[in-house]
Symmetry: D2
Subunit: 289 residues, 4 copies
């Protein structure tokens, strides 16, 4: 397991930002593993991700003093107008998975989690269907059935929020959940709900995108993972991918091909989020590679 710290920064651009941040890290003895910056000149914004070792490489050397760094960095960040997040990679975020009766995405995420690709805890699965029960049992994750109807939505969402709070959830992943979350629900998890939409957004928003793609006669189909905001299918895009189709493919072929795309773009988005590679700004993302 990695024993590193990651610092994510965004702030108005100005001279000397890299120098001041890297200068402080150098002063405090950090061994930097990765550092990446991005400047949006149009909007005058600066973004930075830096990752460094917490324990000295030669065993016996004292580890990096993360609390001390934080204490020193806080006033600097305030002076420079920075929004920032500092986290130790050893701390694994707590994630809940939501799904419907379609299990390909959740099965893929659970498998990747089990094999160590996703550095998180997954204590909770919620679904308005029962199909996922067997899979949840196999992976030893609590499964709660949370049925939703138009009439019971508010109460169902409250129960979901209570379950999330009770399990200390920090990230919600909608693995083909198929229900629309209310703005009130979404407001509890800003930039912390990841959805996969089965089209190349912004084409084919809403329901039945594979049918719409077939109807329009496109030559590529796509899938999109994005953060959920109050507006449907309009949140910051994290990842997209496409697959070539032909006139031979019927809707059911598109659905089958699309499953592989959905798995890929959703699992990448979750991994990048867990690796603290994503910064949101406006309605876009910076994804550090």
């Amino acid at each position: 397991m990695k024993d590193t710290a990651v610092l994510l920064i965004d702030c108005p651009d100005r001279k000397g930002l890299v120098a001041r941040v890297s200068g402080l890290l150098y002063e405090r003895g950090a061994n930097i593993l990765h550092a990446d910056q991005h400047i949006d000149h149009e909007q005058g914004l600066f973004f930075m991700r830096v990752e460094w070792e917490l324990n000295g490489v030669p065993s016996g050397e004292a580890g990096f003093d993360l609390d001390g760094f934080k204490a020193a960095f806080t006033p600097l960040a305030a002076e420079l107008g920075m929004r920032w997040r500092l986290s130790a990679s050893a701390r694994r975020p707590r994630v809940a998975l939501f799904c419907s009766q379609y299990l390909h995405c959740i099965a893929d995420l659970l498998y990747r989690w089990r094999t160590g690709e996703l550095a998180c805890e997954i204590p909770l699965i919620l679904s308005n269907h029962h199909e996922v029960a067997e899979l949840a049992a196999f992976y030893g994750v609590d499964f709660e059935h949370t049925p939703v109807t138009a009439e019971t939505r508010a109460a169902a969402e409250q129960r979901q929020l209570d379950l999330l709070a009770g399990h200390g959830i920090e990230l919600v992943v909608l693995a083909r959940y198929m229900q629309i979350l209310s703005p009130a629900f979404v407001s509890h998890y800003p930039a912390a709900i990841i959805n996969v939409h089965h089209s190349f957004l912004p084409a084919f928003t809403g329901a039945r995108p594979y049918h719409a793609a077939h109807e329009r006669g496109v030559k590529l189909i796509g899938a999109t993972s994005h953060y959920v905001t109050a507006e449907l299918d309009d949140g910051p895009i994290i990842e997209q991918d496409v697959a070539r189709i032909s006139h031979r493919d019927q809707v059911e072929d598109l659905v089958a091909r699309g499953r592989d795309l959905e798995r890929m773009v959703l699992s990448r988005a979750v991994r990048w989020h867990l690796d603290r590679r994503i910064l949101c700004y406006g309605n876009k993302t910076v994804v550090f590679d």
Copy 2:
């Protein structure tokens, strides 16, 4: 140069279509090089492309009697309710290129034409700008300047139609022409005007799609070639392709990356059209490979 015949067929699906067409070809001694069928079960439609040699392979053998085949096939096609086109690949369609001040697509098409990738004649280039003049001269193609304003559109289109008619044009290629053709103009060339749109349709129709893509924060940009119909950016799609971008790419980077996509999808569409590989039906295409 290929000396073959190509027969394109579409009709309601029924039993025995392949048998009857291939039986007639066999009876008349055709040596089939490629044969491909497609059945749209949803709509009950049958599509076929078959290509055969016109001259006997052993020299000295008499060639295939194309007129005789045509005479024999016509009543069969009528009986089976077929729409069909029969053409000799040696006959090179006459193509006109339209462009604006952006020359990357037209330069690419002219280069491919010169080197033999596009089996056609290109006797005419039309543009509402002057930038293409030098290129037209280099390739020895007539260039006519056809300025268009909102007030003169009708007259300008009439002049364009006259020029096309005068040159015996069978296919119009809009190589980033940037002007919208009127439905009246389009009606003269059904399924015979190919346009390239600089987005992954149906996302980002209309003007400035790269700006819209940048604004939305997509992770892939695309380009689409399609037949032009009366409705803007809504005709049958022939080909699409995409390229990956990142948060580092500004609008001008998207424009530059997009130029390569546009060249590729437009040149493929033109080549496939010239090779008689495309059948339109409803608002879609069958592209035989």
Copy 3:
């Protein structure tokens, strides 16, 4: 479930092959769903795949007489020098999966099988490791531990062959099995053992291809599924795919990215084999789409 018949043919090319086959099908009342041909002009070979319905569409109508067709087709095929296979899609081939301690490919295949993407029976899993036991139990598949050492290879392979024979296995899938099968073993399953190699063959044959790719500094990594022949990593290629990497990716990143490629190219190969879409000739494949 599809109730169709598939006929696969390869033979020396000559005039009238399509006409004679489609004529016989028409005569016997077949409703053709898909028909595809390929002619290799260089080698003078003809390939055909045709699929048709077995039961009449209007219920009550008598189904297609497959035995009768077979009786009529056999002499025609003999006359035309055809190799051919005729099969009903309702008959699900019996498949054995071999694996090592790396489970990503076998987990993917089992999941696709469970959800209906792979039309086969999977009665048997063999591994020289124990890690797959839990997965085999979850999916209800017999698991046999077949350890192999240099000294015991012959005996181990004999035991494997006995197990395969005992379960009536028709297709062996090496889902990252990591052991080299002897030519004697391979000779029992001609064009019926599918392997995945974790490189873009013919680059990086043999062991540790991701290390070799990293060492060479390639900008794309690949994976290849192929039929196993007596010569290592040299059998007919069924499918390949690649993913972009950069200087930032270390060997472990290549391994992780490669897992997704391996899953995709192996599962596609198995699906196409089960759908009777693949014909081998020489050291190549025709894959009908």
Copy 4:
């Protein structure tokens, strides 16, 4: 035109490298536009590219003092064991293009140069064939015919070297030149000769790679741009790309598809080189994006 400076650095990794470089830039008032680092932990190497404005953004402000920075940076770089290159983007490198009778790559490069995609001077074209003469004249570039035979190779190379020296050439681009340069020739332009090879290296090195690919039955073909070293097709890879093919594609189809790949990977490599984005180390490249 961009008015920036680019500094490229590689050196043994140690703490504080980013801090010291960015600190010096900050101290001297640089407005950083892009900064990117890469650390190869395996080999303990550090790589950095930083680009900053030379003229103050508010007009009237004095520009950045590049000579003064250079004087201050030189001792720091020496202390830290850095290899480095500092260049002003306004200075356009002088490039020679070599070609054979196949003109698709050189035609593409000349077009991109004319339209401003390639920030360089192209004063010279060399070819052992005459086909390029017309193109050279159109673009106003000197063309020298330099025939080569096995017997005259040494003299021909000497004449080429003299022509390059006479034109002050800093980068040689082999745009499908098809002749092998001697190690002696190559030694004059270390990491300054870019070649395109028409395969996915290291597969299919040497002559006729499309024939070899067809023979092997691969499902994707590729192209590779790389720096030329003394060993054929073995230099540091800059860029690779692939295209899907099928059993339908004959060698001539591979050649045609490959032309588009070759154009893309070669033009990207040249652009990245001119933008000072590439660092070579060992037999690999770091390509900053």
